[in-house]
Structure formats: structure tokens, C-alpha cells
Symmetry: C2
DNA sequence: CTGAAAGCGCTTACAG
DNA sequence: CTGAAAGCGCTTACAG
């Protein structure tokens, strides 16, 4: 026998029509109990698996959702974040018997971004978008198109977008306040993320607000790119000007904090003795370095799971409220001076 | 207008039949140059995107490949390994305009594993399987089914399988020999991976072979599970029996090495002064801890890319030779005592 | 060389 | 209540 088992094969075996098989397998009430079990048995025996193409073509449903990662940001964000997102998304998709498609190519050719291809072709019923830059025209077009889409992260410039994120401003302010209030730090440096991303903007804003509220002696900002070397570079640049002028550094993520930490220690600056260091994310790195880094635990897996739930609601045609904010946790370790 | 733009819409615009549009867009020679450009323009103007379901149903090709991850996603996704695999796989798939599907649920219900569902349903044209256990009956059935599949890793028990891997035995022997020959270590401990996986078996075999060749004073083996805590546990168990009896520990991966390293340092054992430590993988962790861990760099991204190439060859009906072995690199850092 | 039909596998609206 | 047809969007084999 060649080719996969089709509904017709099952129908022939039982002596009914393909339509009956379809309804029997769907549990449709109009098929008699006897026929239903006969069909199920025949399907099992033959190893029948429904054709996803046939089903999708007819029902206009792919039973798949896609994760879109704009190419520009694929570099910017650490790999571990992505895995957490994929895990959260997969668990929800699995529960709905939906496939997960990963679209990593930005593909700006012919004005259509990756999401357009995957959605308009019907390969996916909806998309999760992560790490989108502020003002990305493709993302704006997607949101305005009304196609099912949920953004992970905050997009205040897109009032109609369905978003799932955290309060980056508050979280960044909290961890900054920890340095100021608990450890008595006064001269702070912030190594920010890219400022064309909302997380970069918000974490910087939180840092500045906390510093101002506490009357910090200084609160400077240097822009990084979230990759480890950029944290080291930010510190190295300060060290070139003479003795390190700060007693606390707030990095916008853990990768940069790891790089900065190493640069400080290499230069003989005692962390946390003389300088407190904190990061952001807690996707795995912060816990294993020496000293372990105090950071904000971002619930990436949960964010993605919630985003996927919202996405399925959208796909099912239910109306979904705009913004969900998940709580974060301050994870105190030793790099700030605690314990 | 409701619903997506279809081939018929494009045909109507140009004043031809849908069949002509299909052939024009496919670049079929029989369509005149004039018609072809007219069709292309109309398609662009209308924003036509081919229906993946329609195309798949007709051409019996999904233009998608799937990554199958047999174990529970939570543990497996903690590993950066999968990020590398996804990256390598995606780059090849993108070049062929194919989607990437991630199947994480083991789904042994009704005798059909995840790969069967995704392949038999036609949702994917072929699958990449990673981290399969030795003797996994689903994997064996997959290989024997003749469906397009490539395994990442070595499967000597499946002679017909198409595999892409590294020489774990040789690599493990090399790094073990480094401890023996360069650092003069004599009493070695190996913390292995699970021994129902070929990498666990092979890395242990390499360790034992190197130890025997060099006439090591001892070469003991403890089985771990590749997760960080199990490395710490393996060391802790040794320490409970009294002073640490080994002067070199070969961990089967970096995660366990990080855990073991911390356990040794917490107990006041000098690494690398008194004990040399090495890992395996180099997916990101080994470089950032203190001291940085000497390890074997596994080219996971390249393995996945090569595996995806092989997979597309299989899908295209070309015959593919069984086994590909990629070279690895010994990455010397400080945990062994170098530098 | 070109037009139009057949059919991939499925589900549902329709006729009996 | 049940059988059989129609049609989702596409591509290719066939007739003209």
C-alpha cells in the first residue's frame, strides 16, 4: 500500500461513506453508537491520522500558532528567554492539540513580514510576537489588520494591541531602591538595554525615578545592547577614565551584569564590597556566576503561556481585553551586598 | 472584502484562469512573459499569499519540517542546546522557504508518538529527532517506517538511521587525557549522563579508555542526570565519605560541572589547585562561571544545520548515507589548571 | 500552445 | 434520520 491512510480507506473498511467517518470521529450525535465504535476501531486498526491539509482547507483552521521573532531582536535578546517563551507557549498549544511554528526570519521582502506570510497563508491561526521594537511598522500593521496576534511585552504606542508583560518601570525602580535603601549606595550607574525597545526605555525610567526619589548623588546612564560583552565594555569605559566612580551598577539584564561583573573583578574592584551590582531577568545565568547576581525574576514562561491563552481566545472569536501585567519577584543574592 | 485573497481573485483581476495564475507564479515556461508579469503585478497589488493548505493538499508537501523532542519539555528546554539546534535548523529551513514546527509532547497515547502525528498528518514533510534514548521503540519504528527522519546524535543500534553527531568517545577520551597527561592527575572521577542515552554511554567509555591507557590510579564513575544539581549531589556524596579522594573530575556536561564546581568550592576544595574539573558542551555556561570551565565545544547549531540538509535530501527522494560525524574542539580554560 | 476539468482529503449544508 | 454532493484553494494531467 502506498500513501497514507485516508478517510475513504476507513469508510471502505466499515462499509460507510467518508462523511459518516468524519462525523463518527468528531463524535457527532447523529451517528449511531454502533457505527461510531466500528469507525473508531477501523481507524485505529488502519492507523488513520487525519490529513492536516484536508482539514485545514475545509475548516479554515490550521490548528497551529506561530512564534514570531523579529530578526533584529533575535540577536538582542538572550537565547534563554526564547526557550522560556517556547516552553510556555508549547504547553498551552499542546493542551489545545495545536502545533507550534517558529518563525525567526524577519523577511521584509515585498512589504510583508514573517507574520503576514504565516498568517495570510493560513499556516497559523494566530501569532505571538516577542521582542518587537517600538514603532516597528510591521507590528503596527499586524495589530491594525485585526488578525489574531498577541504581543509579549508592553506597547503603549499601540493602544489596540493585546499585550502580556510586566511592569518594567516599577521592577527597575524596586531593584534600584534596594541598592539605595538597603545598601546605602549613592552614586549609581545604569547600563540600559537598547532604547528603541520598550523594556530599555522602561527599565531606565524606573532606575531614574528611584534614584531621584532617594536623592542619589548621581544617576548616570550608558546604553548597552543586552549582550554580555556590552556590559563589560560599559564598565571598561568608565575604568579608562580613572578610578571607578560609582558604588552601584544597575544592569538592564543579567547577561550584561555578568560581563560587567567580570570587568570589575578583573580591574580589582570588590563586588559587592565596594560596588553593588544587580541585573534583570533571572533566566539562568544570574544564579551560576560568582557572586550570584541579585536580579528581577521575569516570568517569561508564564507570560508566554498567558499570551498563548489570549491568542486562542482571539482565534475563537472572543473579545480580549488589551493589557495583562504579570507580577515579578526581586531575587536577592550576593552581588548587591546581601547575605 | 472578507477572507484572504485567493488565486481566483488574482485570476479575475488579470482576466485569466486560476490555473494560469498558478503556472505564472511558478515561473512555468508555457505562460507568456506578458501574462506572467501581469499576474505578478496583480498578485502584488492584491497582496496574494498562497494558501498553505490548498497547496499542501494538492502537492502532498507541507513545506515544513518538525523538531521532535521526546522528553518533557520543561527539563529539555532548560538546555541551551535546543536553542542552538533550533537556530541551525531554522537557517536551513528558511533558505528552503519551509516552516519549522516544534513538537515537544511525547504523546505516547494510542501507540503513536509525536513524530507519527506530525508526519502522518502531513503537517511536516520530515522530522529531526534529538535526545532520543537508546532503544526507544518509537524512534526505531520511525526509522523502520522509512518516513523522512534524521536523528541528531549517534544510534549504533539503528543501522538504517540517518544520524548526525560527534565522536563522543574520542572527545571524552581527549579531555580526560588532557587531565592525565598535561596536569598529571591520577585519581579520576567521571560524573556521567544518563546511561540510557548514547552520549552517556560514549562519554563514559571515552573516559574509561583514556584512564586505562594512561594507567590512572583510579577511574570511578557515578551516574548523573545532566542537570546542575546532580553534579553538586555527586560531589556532595563523595565529600560525605571523608576527604575528597580524587584529583580530577570529568563531568559529562557543563551544567553538572557548574554544580560540582560550586559544591567543591563550598567545601573548601581548591579548583583547579587541588582538583581539576572539566565539562562538556560549551553552550554558554562554561565560559561565565569562576573559574571558567575547560570543556569540549559541541557544534550543536552546525549539527542541526547538517541534519536539516540531510532531511531535505531525504524529502526530495535522494538517497542519503547514514552517518555524519562533525569535529569538536577542546576548549581549554582555567578549571583544569591551565593558564 | 492554451483552456478547463479533475482531484488532493476533509466537513457541512442540502436533498431525500 | 441518512446519503451523497459541494466545495475549501491549489496544481497538473488532459483535451482541444
Amino acid at each position: 500500500v502506498a500513501g497514507p491512510v485516508t478517510m475513504k480507506d476507513v469508510a471502505a473498511r466499515v462499509g460507510v461513506t467518508a462523511a459518516t467517518v468524519s462525523m463518527a470521529l468528531a463524535g457527532h450525535g447523529r451517528i449511531s453508537e454502533a457505527t461510531r465504535t466500528a469507525v473508531r476501531e477501523a481507524a485505529d486498526e488502519l492507523g488513520y491520522v487525519p490529513s492536516s491539509a484536508g482539514r485545514a482547507l475545509r475548516s479554515r483552521r490550521a490548528d497551529a500558532i506561530a512564534l514570531i521573532v523579529p530578526h533584529s531582536s533575535a540577536h538582542v535578546f538572550g537565547h534563554l528567554y526564547f526557550m522560556h517563551v517556547l516552553t510556555g507557549m508549547s504547553s498551552v498549544a499542546n493542551a489545545r492539540d495545536a502545533q507550534v511554528i517558529v518563525s525567526t526570519n524577519a523577511d521584509t521582502v515585498s512589504g510583508g513580514a514573517a507574520y503576514a506570510r504565516v498568517l495570510r497563508s493560513g499556516a497559523a491561526d494566530g501569532v505571538l510576537v516577542t521582542s518587537a521594537a517600538v514603532g516597528d511598522p510591521h507590528v503596527r500593521a499586524l495589530v491594525e489588520s485585526g488578525l489574531p496576534a498577541v504581543l509579549i511585552g508592553n506597547h503603549p504606542d499601540l493602544p489596540d494591541a493585546v499585550c502580556v508583560g510586566i511592569d518594567d518601570v516599577a521592577a527597575s525602580a524596586d531593584i534600584t531602591a534596594h541598592l539605595l535603601a538597603v545598601h546605602g549606595r549613592r552614586r549609581l550607574l545604569h547600563v540600559s538595554g537598547p532604547l528603541d525597545h520598550q523594556t530599555g526605555i522602561d527599565r531606565r525610567a524606573g532606575f531614574l525615578a528611584a534614584a531621584e526619589r532617594a536623592g542619589a548623588a548621581s544617576a548616570d546612564v550608558v546604553e548597552g545592547d543586552l549582550a554580555e560583552p556590552s556590559g563589560a565594555r560599559a564598565i571598561a569605559e568608565q575604568l579608562e577614565r580613572g578610578p571607578f566612580a560609582y558604588d552601584g551598577v544597575v544592569f538592564a539584564n543579567d547577561d550584561m551584569a555578568v560581563g560587567g561583573l567580570r570587568a570589575l573583578r578583573t580591574a580589582g574592584v570588590d563586588v559587592p564590597g565596594r560596588v553593588s551590582v544587580v541585573g534583570f531577568d533571572d533566566f539562568g545565568l544570574a544564579r551560576v556566576v560568582e557572586p550570584p547576581i541579585t536580579t528581577v525574576a521575569v516570568p517569561a514562561e508564564r507570560m508566554a503561556a498567558v499570551a498563548a491563552e489570549r491568542l486562542f481566545e482571539l482565534i475563537d472569536g472572543r473579545s480580549v481585553h488589551g493589557r495583562t501585567r504579570l507580577p515579578v519577584t526581586l531575587v536577592v543574592r550576593r552581588s548587591c551586598g546581601c547575605t
